[in-house]
Symmetry: C2
Subunit: 69 residues, 2 copies
């Protein structure tokens, strides 16, 4: 599977595990709501700074966002 | 430390461990030589697709690029 899709699915999975809405995650990560939605669909080639914001907001180590086993 | 710096240092460390020159890594990863050099200095906000190319070329799991303990 495309890395963007795997990354997006992982963000969605972790967000739902925390019981966060897309709106709430967007708010705490300071990322646009539509951008989060696009990331989760695997449509965004996100950068390090966005990856870092997502990890902090989801309270996980960045490595977890790349753990696809 | 800034995530871009930590990421860049890790790329450099793994590249040197493999005995690759910047030129060689640039060639196998299909990334410009000057761009690799900038990444290693922590001056680039690299994206998922570049991260994937680097991991494949350095023959490591992507998680390793974010392992900073």
């Amino acid at each position: 599977m495309d890395l963007r899709k795997k990354f997006g699915s992982k963000v969605k999975q972790l967000r739902e595990q925390k019981g966060y809405s897309i709106e709430y995650l967007a708010n705490i990560a300071d990322i646009d709501r539509t951008y989060i939605s696009d990331i989760e669909k695997g449509n965004r080639n996100v950068s390090l700074l966005i990856i870092e914001k997502l990890a902090k907001s989801l309270e996980v180590d960045i490595k977890i966002l790349f753990d696809y086993e």
